[in-house]
């Protein structure tokens, strides 16, 4: 045990102390965020406050237009187009709106804004909003309807869904569960790939540097493999925690630096992500029941299971990756072809997961959440919908037990392949041979 810790310590320290670790862990997210921030800054920034002169000869605004950070409206009396133009030319105002007498607010006469220089995207949106809002009120008033009357007439009646055993099954909860399920499943998927490949390269290190024989004359190959897996797992955990902290920190920081960012996000429709979950999420964000939906998700449970399935999945797959790493030579191309049978179930799991978030009780989802090679990803998508409905306790416990058995099985098998593979040089190993190593008696 002590020797496993020694190996793990070295694996952890050599990786964490590398400059590339610092670079990818800390600088990369910062650079990406900085890049986004710059893009947003340039696309959003309208420069300074634009002063608009309004000559409202029809008095449709009642002399009332809200000012904002981007625009200031000033009402001027007795101005002609020519005199306004002069004022814009002399840079006293950035632009003007001239409304000729007799313009009726109910008729869709368009309002024209003439500016000296181009007005930025954000300022345009703002101006549009302010004028529309004011016009809407004026139009309603002319029809003798107050804003409150209109709002109450527009109120939706929302149908509330619940299942027969009484648990509240609101839309909002469904949407949030879906998003959480997707998020957790994808996160595990990414973790399996990144750190699985890292374990594989780590295992190849002994072979490439030809130190394997020295090491296995000091410790058992199983200890070396487990040390590597735990050490690299710890690196992954640290890296992930730093990323999460950075992402949260920066997302909170970003609106502070660019207050207009939030406005931009609301005024622009979210890019067609194609994901229903994202759609549900977007609709939800405006709704007060969104918070209820969030509250109904059992976060403690989800985080607990996430850690379990993260560790289980990582241990299961990293030992497989380790077995492959021990069998290949220096040639990374060999690794590619040997890796395929391992990456297949991961991709398969993602496919099942996209089905499971929509329909967590379907047969394929239940199968996927029990089968140890896919359960870390698929079960997370189902758990987000709730326990014991739609995931009964027996399925949950069976899935966990199978995952534990699964990783004990793969570790045992991988250890045997590893023992033989690590001392082999120069030979190209096939899956058939690895199979033989795994199941012959020692």
């Amino acid at each position: 045990m002590n020797k496993i810790a020694l190996v793990a310590r070295r694996e952890f320290l050599t990786r964490v102390q590398k400059k590339t670790f610092l670079l990818t862990t800390i600088l990369l997210p910062v650079i990406i965020f900085g890049f986004y921030a710059l893009i947003i800054y340039f696309s959003v920034s309208s420069g300074s406050n634009t002063k608009i002169a309004v000559a409202d000869n029809a008095n449709i605004f009642n002399g009332k237009l809200e000012n904002s950070d981007e625009v200031t409206f000033s009402f001027l009396q007795n101005e002609t187009k020519a005199s306004l133009e002069k004022k814009v030319n002399s840079k006293e105002y950035g632009g003007y709106i001239y409304i000729p007498a007799g313009t009726k607010p109910l008729i869709n006469d368009s309002i024209k804004l003439v500016s000296g220089e181009k007005i930025g995207l954000i300022a345009r949106g703002k101006i549009q909003d302010i004028i529309n809002k004011q016009l809407e009120q004026v139009r309603l008033l002319s029809l003798h309807i107050t804003k409150q009357q209109l709002d109450s007439a527009r109120n939706d009646n929302s149908v509330s869904f619940s299942t027969i055993n009484g648990s509240n099954d609101s839309d909002m909860k469904e949407g949030v569960s879906m998003a959480v399920g997707y998020g957790a499943g994808f996160l595990i998927y990414i973790i399996l790939f990144i750190y699985g490949a890292m374990v594989m390269r780590g295992v190849m290190e002994e072979k490439v540097s030809r130190i394997a024989e020295v090491i296995v004359s000091s410790i058992k190959p199983f200890q070396l493999m487990m040390g590597k897996i735990t050490g690299i797992g710890a690196v992954g955990l640290v890296q992930f925690i730093i990323w999460i902290v950075l992402v949260f920190g920066l997302t909170f920081l970003l609106p502070l630096i660019f207050p207009s960012f939030a406005h931009q996000m609301q005024s622009q429709p979210i890019q067609p992500a194609g994901m229903q979950a994202a759609e549900a999420f977007k609709n939800a964000s405006a709704d007060p029941t969104f918070m209820q939906g969030l509250a109904q998700v059992n976060w403690l449970m989800i985080i607990g299971f996430f850690i379990f399935y993260f560790l289980g999945g990582y241990l299961l797959y990293s030992s497989l990756f380790a077995a492959v790493g021990s069998a290949v030579n220096e040639d990374p191309q060999d690794a590619q072809s040997l890796m395929l049978p391992i990456t297949m179930p991961i991709i398969f799991a993602i496919v099942i997961m996209t089905k499971a978030v929509n329909d967590p009780s379907s047969g394929i989802a239940v199968f996927g959440s029990l089968f140890p090679l896919t359960s870390p990803i698929v079960m997370m998508a189902r758990i987000a919908h709730g326990v014991p409905d739609p995931v009964p306790y027996w399925q949950l416990f069976l899935s966990m037990a199978l995952l534990i058995l699964g990783f004990l099985g793969t570790t045992w098998m991988a250890a045997k392949i590893y023992r033989t593979g690590i001392l082999m040089y120069g030979k190209k190993i096939t899956w058939k041979e690895m199979w033989k190593w795994a199941f012959r008696k020692s």
Partner: protein, 310 residues
Amino acid sequence: MALLELEHLKKYYATQKAVDDISFSIEQGSIFGLLGPNGAGKTTLLRMITGIFFPDEGNIIFDGKKFDALNDIIKIGYMPEERGLYKKMKIGDQALYLAQLKGLSKNEAMEKIKFWFKRLEMESWWNKKVEDLSKGMSQKLQFVITVLHEPKLIILDEPFSGLDPLNANLIKDEIYGLAQRGATIIFSTHRMEQVEEICDHIVLVNLGRKVLDGTVQQIKQDFKENKFSIQLNGIPATIASTAFDVIDTKANKLTVKIKDGYKSNDVLKHFIQDGVNVEAFSEILPSLNDIFINIVEDTHAKTRSFQKVD
């Protein structure tokens, strides 16, 4: 007392018998040579002694008890033929790590590393990486790592390959020193002149079997061909004797082979009767190199054949 005893060790692979019923014992404090052509099964044998492989059959008795890889590993130092170190790791850290893996505590390991680094003038290397070292330097480091934890049994597979004569002598002296202080050394090589110089006892394996076992002196006696070298002040025109044949003549030096039933004195008697002055007379013992080549060729050793071609 024997430190290591091998009893009927066997290790078969699917395609060949790598080690086929080998037994021998190694005395404590001796320098033991394990010889054999390429593919004779030396590496497999060594891997079984170091606990990397389990024998299919047979026993290994180490230090009076049945060999237990888990606990006895710290008493063994193994320098494999396949040399390697972590290239990106600093030399000091690397030595410390490998010593700790053997089971030394950090302080103990540190103390011993400092002692050996000082002894072999490697102190200035501490913060360098292995990739910055020359082949000979990394070989020296490898040697230090092998003997650092003061093992009872030190196994060196081709320890001098790649070393210049100066460093080779340095390592050789260390090997003698270690043997004097009680360590047992197994020395695997096919450089016969080194074996002759260093080893007390040798075993020759070929095709997975033991073909020779004994002290260097004993083996030479066993394989001697009754050849003598004799130096005379002048070579007579004809040499005819029933006692010996002349095999070779060089200047005034003759190599003779004594026939069965005669002794070395019969040669001297012949020249003394001839009135030729004998300046020097000595027996020619076969070199291990000759013995090696003789035996291995006799058994038709080729390199490992995996497959019969009809």
